[in-house]
């Protein structure tokens, strides 16, 4: 405890080029849902939610962190961890390199700690722009370490999921990350730790069949497609057309798979309320 006081915390403020790369200043955006055209500035001011129809644009991990944590500040864990190519899978290395240079991430996740409304939390945010947010060894290991840190520090953990599923290029090792992360969450649960899972557009496959569905509280952003098997595969299997709202957050809420659908502007206040009610008030000087 005393040692902690003297330990210098290294915080990084997310540099603007890491978050704004996607939409350079002045560019116009056309809403994929209603077609309304808005400037990037307008859109960012509205947390990347369409001002006309409420469509929630996809966020990358850094944007998510910036919108969630106090002052967008995170003390990142395991930033130097990178994927290997254990199976010598065709084109995997090239795909990784391409993803790294187009996203400025090292893999499909950012983990670390920070505060939300002054409450200390461990946070993990997945990034769909990095190989479809696929779950491989690095994502599995970083989530597991983040969960273990949450147990050790008695912090709540919040995981923002977005993923197409397990990473095929690491085959069986990817599948096993589902068991690994779930086992770590079992320890967190036994220790009485709080895990809030936030499901975002889109969350499928291995991620939906492991940590994303294991939250004490499971929240989803509006209209986020989410399920185990993708719509196309189901339609081919059952040879029927599925309704438009199939597998949306609202559909999942109706079928008992979620606690709540929360819009992006209400997300931080909701998280703060939840943290408050779980008595996890951190020390006031934290992060200051």
């Amino acid at each position: 405890m005393l040692k902690d006081l003297f330990q210098k915390r290294k915080y990084a403020t997310i540099p603007s080029e890491r978050t704004k790369r996607e939409i350079p200043e002045g560019l116009m955006n056309k809403c994929p849902k209603c077609g309304t055209i808005q400037t990037s500035k307008e859109l960012e001011k509205n947390l990347k939610v369409c001002t006309a129809c409420g469509y929630h644009y996809r966020l990358n991990a850094m944007e998510r962190i910036q919108m969630t944590l106090d002052e967008g500040r995170i003390f990142e864990y395991d930033t130097d961890m990178i994927s290997e190519d254990p199976l010598q899978f065709p084109d995997y290395i090239e795909k990784l390199e391409k993803a790294k240079s187009s996203t400025s991430l090292r893999d499909a996740i950012v983990t670390g700690e920070g505060t939300i409304g002054g409450y200390p939390v461990v946070v993990a945010a997945m990034s769909f722009d990095f190989m479809g947010g696929s779950l491989g060894s690095v994502v599995g290991e970083r989530i597991t370490r983040a969960v273990e840190t949450a147990v050790q520090k008695k912090y709540p953990i919040i995981i923002y999921s977005t993923s197409g599923g397990a990473r095929m290029q690491e085959s069986i090792l990817s599948l096993m990350q589902m068991a690994k992360t779930s086992a770590a969450l079992s320890k967190l649960s036994d220790a009485g730790g709080l895990f809030i899972s936030v499901i975002t557009d889109p969350t499928f496959g291995g991620v939906s069949a492991s940590f994303a569905m294991l939250g004490d509280i499971i929240i989803a952003e509006p209209a986020a497609p989410f399920g185990f098997t993708g719509r196309r595969v189901i339609e081919q299997t059952i040879k029927q057309k599925l309704p438009d709202n199939f597998q949306t957050s609202e559909f999942n809420l109706e079928h008992g798979q979620l606690d709540k659908v929360v819009s992006r502007k209400d997300m931080r206040p909701t998280l703060i309320k939840l943290l408050d009610m779980h008595g996890v008030k951190g020390d006031a000087t934290y992060g200051g």
Binding site: P86, A179, T229, H255
Partner: protein
């Protein structure tokens, strides 16, 4: 007579030649014994060669062989006093999963596994061994019961995967699998898992969080079906054999990656050639793995299982100075 797989064609052709020659020799009273002997020697060589050098794709065919023994076959031969239990107490009884209690060498255990059908009618009832959420929840209920009564758990894995249907989604396919992973990690009894045929994706792993995980020699274990991988990676499901090679799904590969603890040998040509011999091999392997676990404390069992999965994964660290 076993159904021949395409790659076994040369063997089948040679065998029919030998049979023909024998018949001809008997009918015409001509002595072809030298020729027959030579052909038989060639047959033995070819058989050796063929089964020793099977590709991933060929093993995949054996793992999916229509006559491959199923969970219920093994339960009948390996255990005694099996009593099957049914239902998840929430929705229904998914026949794609079977389970109950039985004795293994006199020790009461809970046994659970995926169940494929033996013929078309059976396969329809069992949904080709592809469970819905109620199947995973039935397995979970039986495993919780084992945990309560301190019975070891043995699981048999044999599924293409969790069923990809709309009803499965509505009832929480993802949650059902996830819940099994979390709870299997927390049980205080020994858990031994055996992949007997196809270990397909999350639906397989939902019965796969054990202290020891074994695979049959010709079984496969993969993150996605080779057909699924091919349709995503190559936009062509017919390239499944190619994807099967790339994903390294055979027992040998999975062993090299450190994901399983042992390989159970199969009779020459695959488990279906001699199901009873295969059952003996499995029984011996499971019993061998179970014994040391029986003397471990609950905490040791938990920690052993945690470490087993905690250590799986391959990654490295970038060598550099400061970075944002």
């Amino acid at each position: 007579m076993a159904v021949e797989m395409p790659f076994e064609q040369p063997l089948a052709e040679l065998k029919s030649k030998i049979v023909e020659l024998r018949k001809f020799s008997a009918e015409k009273h001509i002595d072809f014994s030298d020729e027959i002997r030579r052909l038989e020697e060639r047959y033995a060589e070819l058989e050796e060669e063929l089964y020793a050098n099977m590709s991933s794709a060929e093993k995949m065919q054996l793992a999916r062989h229509p006559q491959r023994p199923t969970t219920l076959n093994y339960i009948q031969s390996i255990f005694t006093d099996f009593i099957e239990f049914h239902g998840d107490r929430l929705y229904g009884d998914d026949l794609a999963i079977v389970g109950g209690i039985a004795k293994l060498n006199g020790v009461p255990v809970t046994v659970v596994g995926h169940q494929k059908g033996k013929d078309t009618k059976d396969n329809i009832a069992r949904n080709f061994g592809c469970p819905h959420p109620e199947g995973f929840r039935k397995a979970l209920r039986l495993m919780r019961q084992a945990d309560k009564f301190r019975r070891p758990i043995v699981t048999f894995i044999d599924t293409k995967g969790a069923f990809p249907g709309n009803a499965a989604e509505e009832r929480g396919q993802g949650e059902a699998i996830a819940r099994n992973l979390l709870e299997m990690a927390s049980f205080r009894v020994p858990i031994i898992c055996v992949v007997i045929g196809e270990g397909g994706s999350g639906g397989a792993l939902a019965l796969g969080v054990g202290n020891k995980v074994l695979m049959l020699e010709n079984a496969i274990y993969s993150v996605i079906s080779p057909e699924g991988a091919a349709s995503i990676l190559y936009k062509d499901a017919s390239k499944a054999l190619h994807a099967a090679e790339a994903m390294k799904i055979t027992a040998n590969h999975i062993m090299e990656l450190g994901v399983i603890d042992g390989i159970v040998p199969e009779p020459k040509g695959g488990a279906h050639r001699d199901p009873l011999m295969q059952a003996d091999f499995i029984k011996e392997a499971v019993w061998g793995q179970l014994q040391p676990l029986l003397s471990m404390s609950e905490e040791e069992l938990l920690e052993d299982r945690y470490r087993r999965f905690r250590d799986i994964g391959r990654f490295t660290f970038i060598q550099e100075g400061n970075h944002a």
